[in-house]
């Protein structure tokens, strides 16, 4: 009996999964279990599928995703903390036929960059905002974010977030959805295969919408930060489902373009 060798198995006929060509081969610096890697992959998938690699310019934040520019093989600018929507505004205004997106965390978008985010959305800049909300400052070691849940422990709320002292968790997408400049707001997650598929469709829609000049598209991805949350990757997923989703329920919040079609 002839034994099989590796070339019998690794050949195009047997290919069931192929990494998209936009993701670079660089090993990611993210912690095991972190949602960033999956969202990066989805972005690479969409950019490849829409064949817009040469027309896409990304704006990276300050936060764990500061190195996003190393992982997707497109032109990138790295912004000061919270200022990504201001950069994206200028890029899109000066290069209106390009696809421009920001990739921002909850500290970046919902705390230090609220003004830049809100006003870019209010002007209806034709950009995509990818918003990673894990309820904590991951890169600086797990401090309270504006999105941190009440009672949730962080290094700056060691006994849990208190409304009286810290206010309530801030739901930026809900707030931004009220603006006429915003055409699409959706809240997704990437903790299951089904969720990843839905998130992929949402990101694709956002990129397609941004080419219609109908305003800003926002995709929030409710994410885990198992190291910041001091949980295992699996435990973090469970904790997210049990705690984050009630505060940040998944699904579309606004879709004016879909509504127009109906």
């Amino acid at each position: 009996m002839n034994s099989m060798n590796v070339t019998d198995i690794v050949n195009p006929i047997n290919l069931v999964y192929k990494k998209n060509s936009v993701l670079t081969d660089l090993p990611m610096h993210y912690c095991p279990g972190c949602s960033h890697g999956v969202v990066h992959k989805l972005l690479g998938d969409i950019i490849e599928e829409l064949d817009i690699q040469e027309q896409t310019i990304g704006v990276a934040p300050v936060g764990c995703a500061v190195f996003a520019y190393k992982y997707l093989d497109i032109d990138w600018q790295q912004a000061a903390h919270g200022r990504a929507p201001a950069l994206a505004t200028a890029i899109k205004r000066l290069l209106p036929d390009r696809y421009v997106f920001t990739y921002q965390g909850d500290g970046d978008l919902a705390a230090i960059g609220t003004a830049e985010t809100l006003h870019a959305c209010n002007r209806g800049e034709n950009i995509v905002i990818i918003y990673i909300n894990n309820g904590i400052y991951g890169m600086t070691g797990g401090q309270m974010a504006p999105t941190t849940l009440l009672g949730m422990k962080s290094t700056t709320t060691p006994k849990g977030r208190m409304y009286e002292r810290d206010g309530n968790p801030l739901d930026m997408p809900k707030l931004l959805a009220q603006l006429d400049g915003v055409c699409y707001v959706t809240r997704q997650a990437v903790h299951t295969v089904g969720a990843v598929k839905k998130c992929r469709r949402a990101i694709k829609k956002a990129f397609e919408y941004s080419a219609l000049n109908k305003g800003t598209s926002i995709v929030e991805v409710v994410s885990t930060c198992n190291s910041g949350w001091k949980l295992t990757p699996d435990g973090a997923n469970k904790w997210m489902v049990e705690n984050m989703f009630s505060q940040y329920p998944l699904g579309d919040i606004k879709d004016t373009i879909q509504a127009e079609k109906k």
Binding site: T56, Q78, A80, A86, A90, L94, A115
Partner: protein, 355 residues
């Protein structure tokens, strides 16, 4: 044409092929954006003009535009320029060209809307964090508001650095005759790709992507970036010093002043000469790089310098460094938005240096 200094900046920006202006209103420079909005350059040259939500956003829009190789600028006045310091430092770190206009008003704090020159330190010593320098041009007339706007863009792109036009409330507000610079077409995208291969215009097929960033986590790489910046600053200091000398050839006493103070000192030189005192004026046009060699040379043949500024005394420190103790260096200044008269300055020269 007769126009305000602030208006001259707007006209010059359009004419030199500026791609984008991003600003936020603040007295005494709001005419820059108002003039642009009235001129509607998006209908002629295609220049984008956008009123941003803050000076923080404005400077970051300039960053984004500059990262695409575009000629971009913003303008503000002192409190607004303080807000821009983060963005300016990021631009310096990311080696991005751009022009920032500061039509200075009196501080600290909300201060006054009257003219001042008290942001000299902030402009020439690096107002934001980290080791960087910013070419700083000081117009002293409406004509120079136009001419130096064009030069500021040239320097910004030659040295890949944010570049400042440091004017004051009077130069911004006063009206004078001006000959506007000729029209230069905006660069096409192909020209931009050829001239600025680092620009993020979308990654061409088969090429490496461009990254605009000031982040280097490896100490060795960060030091390398710093050394590259410092080498560039040394070249700037060698190649780009600009100044005007008025009656310095036989001068015993030299005023050192920029902007509106230089205009006052010019008159004070005339008064001094009419009274038999050989006074001259050295007017730095580039505040960074500072005319160190010129002052050194003058210090070998004059009896003293007096720096005249609308501040508590900032540039005088650089004059003293250049003179290095050879002859006395005195200071005269007014604050709070007050501009001294030529006689007042002449009397200061007599009191501090001659008697």
């Amino acid at each position: 044409m007769l126009m305000k200094g602030n208006e001259a900046i707007a006209h010059a920006a359009i004419r030199c092929g500026c791609d984008g202006y991003f600003g936020y209103p603040i007295t005494p420079q709001s005419e820059v954006m108002e003039t642009l909005m009235e001129l509607e350059p998006w209908n002629t040259t295609g220049m984008v003009v956008l009123q941003a939500e803050s000076e923080v956003a404005s400077i970051n829009m300039v960053y984004g535009a500059a990262g695409c190789g575009k000629k971009a600028m913003t303008s503000s006045s002192s409190p607004g320029v303080s807000l821009m310091q983060e963005g300016i430092s990021y631009m310096a770190g990311a080696e991005l060209p751009g022009v920032i206009v500061n039509v200075m008003r009196g501080g600290p704090g909300l201060g006054t809307i009257q003219p001042s020159q008290a942001d000299y330190f902030q402009a020439v010593k690096g107002g934001g964090h980290g080791d960087y320098k910013m070419p700083t041009l000081a117009p002293a007339s409406v004509q120079e508001m136009a001419d130096l706007t064009v030069l500021a863009f040239d320097l910004a792109f030659k040295y890949l650095t944010p570049t400042m036009l440091l004017a004051d409330g009077i130069i911004g507000q006063m009206m004078e005759k001006v000959v506007l610079p000729p029209y230069q077409p905006r660069l096409t995208e192909d020209e931009m790709r050829a001239k600025y291969p680092w620009a993020t215009l979308g990654k061409p097929h088969g090429k490496k992507p461009n990254h605009i960033t000031s982040l280097e986590l490896l100490s060795e790489d960060m030091e390398k970036l710093n050394k590259r910046l410092q080498a560039r600053y040394r070249t700037l200091e060698k190649e780009e010093v600009r100044f005007e000398e008025i009656a310095c050839e036989d001068a015993d006493y030299v005023f050192v002043a920029f902007g509106i103070s230089a205009r006052v000192c010019q008159k004070a030189v005339e008064i001094a000469r009419s009274e038999g005192i050989k006074a001259g004026l050295l007017r730095p046009i580039t505040l960074y790089p500072f005319p160190v060699e010129k002052i050194k040379e003058l210090s070998n043949r004059v009896k003293g310098f007096i720096s005249v500024e609308l501040s508590a005394g900032q540039m005088v420190e650089d004059v003293r460094l250049a003179v290095n103790g050879k002859v006395p260096v005195e200071f005269y200044g007014r604050m709070g938005g007050i501009v001294p008269s030529p006689n007042e300055v002449f009397n200061a020269l007599k009191d501090k240096l001659i008697q």
